[in-house]
């Protein structure tokens, strides 16, 4: 296979996006077909590549060698192969699912165009062989995420959410770019492989490394919605549900984890940074889980759960277990996409009702959905023998090896996860139907249920060795095994199972048959007041500064300096005009005064 072959994976969605935007914008079916076809092509090509050899192919993009060089390069190795499969696989399923979900949307072509754009961008991140290129696609996924969140742009909430997502990500990217610049200053390259080769030969100070790694981590904090930049992800649920499934659950938000795994050679160099990363991760996990316990919107619960799971993965990176992180990323992609698509099916069936308290009793009416959702839930809450159980277990084990506190919090999060997912599950599927829509719920057409079923299967089996090992590839598998071999595996597994049982039981007992939430914790319900805090912060800093600056510009620079100076000139002129008062005698006097003064200054000084 030619090393240039992976380019096709990347370019097919771009071609689709471009054609849809420029040519087939008017035709709904053609656009949809094109988009789906492109993603299917990418999936097939990815499969082909997956079983092919590793390799790299690059073309120069910015070329100031020797000073500065940015190629566009695709790299195929274990990591990117895994990600390729996840992205194209879930992407394909979501595309197919969207055919139904977005059927009645008036701007369906735009939706598919943007979806293809997203596929292109995401695949770009996956394939990138250098930091600059990754940053490029990093920004582009931000763009496509913005476009897709804002798909229903006439809704104020959607528009606001889109802006919030983009801006929050930009803040993260600010740090990311700085990090890239720092690393580049030290190594003189942005290409990962060269960087990895050169880093050991340089003697960099610990401070520098910590700084650089943390700045790069900023990018991940933004994209993977870690505390404190997590606020955009729940709001992003304003986008169409397939988007939430694909972008805001399975793929894009995991890009941060992927990126950190990609540069783990760099992360490893700074223990301090690692600690920070791990703690940010676990903090996100715990906080998000707490918030999730009190949400009423089905998608928001899932969104917080995503946050929480991403926290796990980040923590895994922080405890030097990128393999574990990638493992969890892999399994999580399936079950979270499944959960979102399932939620989407419910929402679709209930005519865009998202409040779980207006659902209920759907287990019988939406059989396929119920079954697959169950599989997903079990995988997420770490039910033994489901995929999530294995991957989460590895992370907890890795955390245990590093720090007991991390482990304890991780365990607590697992418990909470079980709790809130059970809450969701029970409230949605059991009990009485609490609204008319819920009464008439029904399964979607096959294009909707089949992706659910496929994902359900994977949610169950993705954790098992024969799949996981293949998918993760030799190196990552080796890492995972290494964690297991480090000991205490049984203890951790037992504790995890215990957490699962306690959480599930708690949720079941508390919410069984409830018509409204028996627990009210304002702090959790209001998401720890992060939004309010930020709003105040933005109003207090940025907007205030902007107003002040505008005031300064208007009154100081334009007013005092520009208008003031020109006004002063005018006024001087106006004043001088009074010398010209028309009286001859006065002129003679001024003349004489001039003479005497000038003589004084010239002759006598």
């Amino acid at each position: 296979m030619d090393a240039r072959f992976p380019w096709f994976i990347l370019l097919a969605p771009l071609a689709a996006a471009a054609i849809i935007q420029l040519i087939t914008r008017r035709s709904r079916s053609l656009s949809a077909t094109l988009s789906v076809a492109s993603v299917c092509f990418s999936l097939l090509a990815s499969l082909f590549v997956f079983f092919g050899p590793d390799g790299t192919s690059e073309v120069p993009w910015l070329d100031f060698r020797p000073a500065f060089y940015v190629p566009m390069g695709v790299t195929i190795d274990g990591l990117s192969k895994l990600m390729l499969l996840v992205v194209t696989g879930i992407g394909a399923l979501v595309h197919i699912y969207s055919l139904v979900y977005m059927e009645e949307d008036e701007s369906q072509p735009r939706f598919f165009g943007n979806l293809s754009l997203f596929m292109f961008s995401m695949l770009g991140i996956v394939l990138a062989n250098n930091f600059a290129m990754m940053f490029i696609f990093w920004e582009l996924v931000g763009l496509s995420s913005y476009l897709l969140i804002g798909h229903w742009f006439t809704r104020e909430a959607a528009a606001a959410a889109a802006n919030k997502a983009f801006l929050t990500n930009r803040i993260g990217d600010f740090g990311f770019m700085l990090g890239i610049l720092m690393v580049w200053t030290a190594t003189g390259t942005v290409v990962f492989s060269e960087m990895e080769a050169r880093l050991p030969t340089l003697s960099l100070t610990a401070g520098f490394l910590t700084m650089a790694v943390l700045l790069i981590f900023c990018g991940a904090v933004g994209k993977s919605a870690q505390v404190p930049l997590h606020v955009w992800l729940p709001d992003a649920m304003e986008g169409p549900t397939p988007v939430s499934a694909l972008i805001h659950a399975a793929t894009m938000v995991a890009a941060g984890v992927y990126m950190l795994a990609r540069v783990s050679f760099l992360v490893e160099l700074s223990a301090t940074a690692q600690t920070v990363i791990a703690w940010i991760g676990i903090l996100t996990a715990v906080l998000a889980a707490l918030m999730a316990t009190q949400q009423d919107d089905i998608k928001r619960v899932l969104a917080y759960s995503t946050l929480s799971q991403l926290g796990y993965m980040i923590m895994a990176i922080g405890v030097s277990a990128p393999g574990a992180a990638m493992f969890h990323l892999f399994t999580h992609a399936f079950f979270k996409a499944l959960l979102f698509l399932g939620a989407g099916a419910i929402i679709h069936a209930l005519h865009h009702e998202q409040d779980i308290w207006k659902m209920g009793g759907l287990s019988g009416k939406m059989k396929w959905t119920f079954l697959s959702f169950t599989a997903g839930t079990l995988a997420l809450i770490g039910c033994p023998f489901f995929s999530g159980f294995f991957s989460k277990d590895v992370i907890l084990l890795a955390a245990y090896h590093r720090s007991f506190f991390l482990f304890a919090l991780g365990l607590f999060t697992a418990l909470l996860t079980a709790f809130y997912m059970t809450r969701l599950f029970v409230v949605v599927f059991f009990g009485r139907s609490r609204s008319d829509e819920a009464e008439h719920g029904h399964d979607g057409p096959p294009a909707m249920t089949i992706p659910l079923q496929i994902l359900a299967v994977f949610s169950v089996i993705a954790g098992y060795g024969f799949i996981a090992n293949t998918a993760l590839g030799a190196e990552l598998t080796h890492q995972v095994h290494a964690i297991h071999e480090a000991g205490r595996a049984t203890l951790v597994m037992t504790l995890a199972t215990f957490a699962f049982v306690v959480g599930t039981a708690g949720g079941w007992l508390l919410y069984k048959g409830q018509a409204k939430d028996p627990v009210l914790i304002p702090l959790f319900r209001n998401k720890f007041y992060f939004d309010e805090l930020y709003e105040a912060l933005i109003a207090g800093t940025q907007d205030l500064l902007a107003t002040i600056s505008r005031f300064l510009d208007q009154w100081l620079i334009d007013g005092l300096l520009v208008r003031g100076l020109s006004g002063a000139a005018w006024a001087t002129g106006f004043a001088l005009r009074f010398l010209q008062f028309g009286n001859l005698q006065g002129y003679a006097f001024l003349f004489g005064l001039g003479v005497v003064t000038m003589i004084y200054f010239i002759v006598f000084r």
Binding site: A569, L584, I602
Partner: protein
């Protein structure tokens, strides 16, 4: 080759001839007189290129020099007079309203012939290298201007201007004469070359010498409208008949500057005196720039605005004069800068006055608002005015820009950065008040829609001036050639 003095003689003969014809002809129509004068003067401009130098005379005994500078300024005088006469033709109908006369053309003959005599005076000034001739020719010019300024004696503004000019002019003459006295007394010479020799060979008491120089500077500063002796300018310019205002502002100023440069030449080289003279010139330049430009800002009367602008340009010229330096290269040399600036100034000032006359005649007023909507009433005049204003403001591709370019080059070369700084501010002020006219012409709607018609000869002159502004703004070389087409030193009078 024509002997140089014959130019002046021809002009004088022309003037006397005009007076004779005026006295003895029966015709009431004096237009022919002016047209003849215009033709002959134009021809003389041509002849001026074929004059021979006066290399044989001992410069220490000469009154009269026919060096290239002199010739250049003679041409300026001739050309100015030509255009002033064209303006006078256009202005004739206005003028006769304010002269008591029995016949329709009464007083016009003299009005056409006096500028010719003034022109002769200006030409003498251009050549004068002796205080005696300087004084006499200067007075010839001044006295004829007294008459011309007060010419419209039924209009009290004209008379008022005449009186103001008379008194202040006489005052300045008094200072000039007193200053000449001191210089003569100290050196025993009136000839500038001789003075220069004396200054080089003998010790002269510095304080009295400076005193004398200062007094002379007062007199000459008055003529070129340099602050603080500029107060007469706006009143006189506003009151005088417009062609005469133009003549004053171009001819008188040009001749004043050539005299100033010639007079200063012997002194700037004297240690202990030169620096102070340069300093006082710089101070005057700065004051003039500030006064002329800033005072023009709130001005609503266009004629008065041009008066302030005339002061302003005197300021730029003084900057060049104050930047006298050793370099002989063209760019950065003060002499070339002054000469070129004056040539450009001639074109743009005459053009703006010419348009002013045409517009004022039809709009019955010479405020800026009378120019409102000129672009609709007469696109040709509007464009001409635009050209003039651009050149006055110093926009590239106009002669005015090259002038400013050279002036500031000289100033930078001489390291006069304070002056340059003032210049920058005043140039910006200039943008404002010149473009106010452009704004009136192009932005505003006309107050009345009647188209403006001008005489063919005026139209032709306007066209020539506008073309010349652009032509010399792009191809300065002809003027440079004209500055040194005669063998001998370039305009180096300002240099040692």
């Amino acid at each position: 080759m024509i002997p140089p003095l014959s130019l002046e003689i021809a002009v004088l003969l022309l003037g006397i001839g005009m007076l004779l014809v005026e006295s003895f002809s029966k015709s009431d129509d004096k237009r022919g007189l002016a047209v003849t004068a215009i033709t002959i003067l134009t021809a003389l401009v041509g002849f001026s290129f074929f004059t021979s130098g006066n290399a044989t005379i001992d410069p220490a005994k000469a009154f009269y020099s026919a060096d290239p500078t002199a010739l250049f300024f003679k041409r300026i005088a001739l050309i100015t007079t030509v255009f002033v006469l064209v303006m006078a033709l256009e202005y004739g109908s206005v003028l006769t309203k304010f002269i008591p006369g029995v016949t329709p053309g009464a007083g016009l003959g003299e009005f056409y012939s006096l500028p010719v005599f003034t022109c002769a005076g200006l030409m003498f000034m251009a050549s004068a290298v002796d205080f005696l001739l300087i004084f006499v020719s200067l007075e010839l010019v001044t006295i004829s201007f007294y008459v011309l300024v007060a010419y419209m004696r039924r209009q009290s503004a004209s008379l008022e201007a005449g009186v103001k000019y008379l008194i202040q002019g006489a005052l300045s003459t008094g200072f000039l004469v007193y200053g000449i006295t001191w210089i003569f007394g100290l050196t025993g010479e009136t000839n500038l070359s001789a003075i220069s020799q004396v200054l080089h060979t003998r010790e002269i008491a510095t304080v009295p010498l400076l005193f004398g120089i200062m007094l002379v500077l007062v007199g000459l500063g008055f003529k070129v409208a340099a602050a603080p002796f500029q107060l007469w300018v706006p009143d006189v310019y506003q009151g005088a008949p417009t062609p005469i205002t133009a003549f004053l502002s171009v001819g008188s100023k040009a001749a004043g500057f050539v005299v100033l440069i010639r007079v200063l030449k012997p002194f700037v080289a004297v240690p202990g005196v030169g620096e102070k003279v340069i300093f006082v010139l710089a101070v005057m330049a700065g004051l003039t720039l500030i006064y002329g430009n800033l005072t023009a800002l709130p001005q609503d009367n266009f004629k008065r605005l041009l008066a302030y602008s005339s002061i302003a340009h005197a300021g730029y010229l003084l900057v060049a004069v104050a930047s006298v330096n050793k370099t002989d290269e063209s760019i950065g040399s003060a002499g070339v800068a002054v000469a070129f600036y004056l040539a450009g100034y001639l074109l743009m000032t005459l053009l703006s006055f010419m348009v002013l006359i045409a517009v004022a005649k039809h709009s019955r007023g010479d405020d800026i608002l009378h120019f409102n909507g000129l672009a609709k009433r007469s696109p040709f005049l509007a464009f001409a005015m635009l050209t003039a204003m651009l050149s006055l403001a110093g926009i590239p591709f106009t002669a005015g820009f090259i002038g400013k370019f050279l002036v500031f080059a000289a100033a930078v070369q001489a390291g006069k950065f304070v002056l340059v700084g003032i210049g920058i501010i005043t140039v910006a002020a200039g943008f404002y008040y010149y473009l106010r006219v452009v704004a009136a012409i192009y932005w505003q709607a006309p107050n009345d829609d009647t188209p403006i018609v001008v005489q063919p000869i005026t139209r032709c002159a306007v066209g020539v001036l506008a073309f010349a502004i652009f032509f010399f703004g792009i191809f300065p070389q002809p003027i440079l050639n004209s500055l040194h087409n005669v063998p001998g030193p370039v305009v180096r009078s300002a240099q040692r």
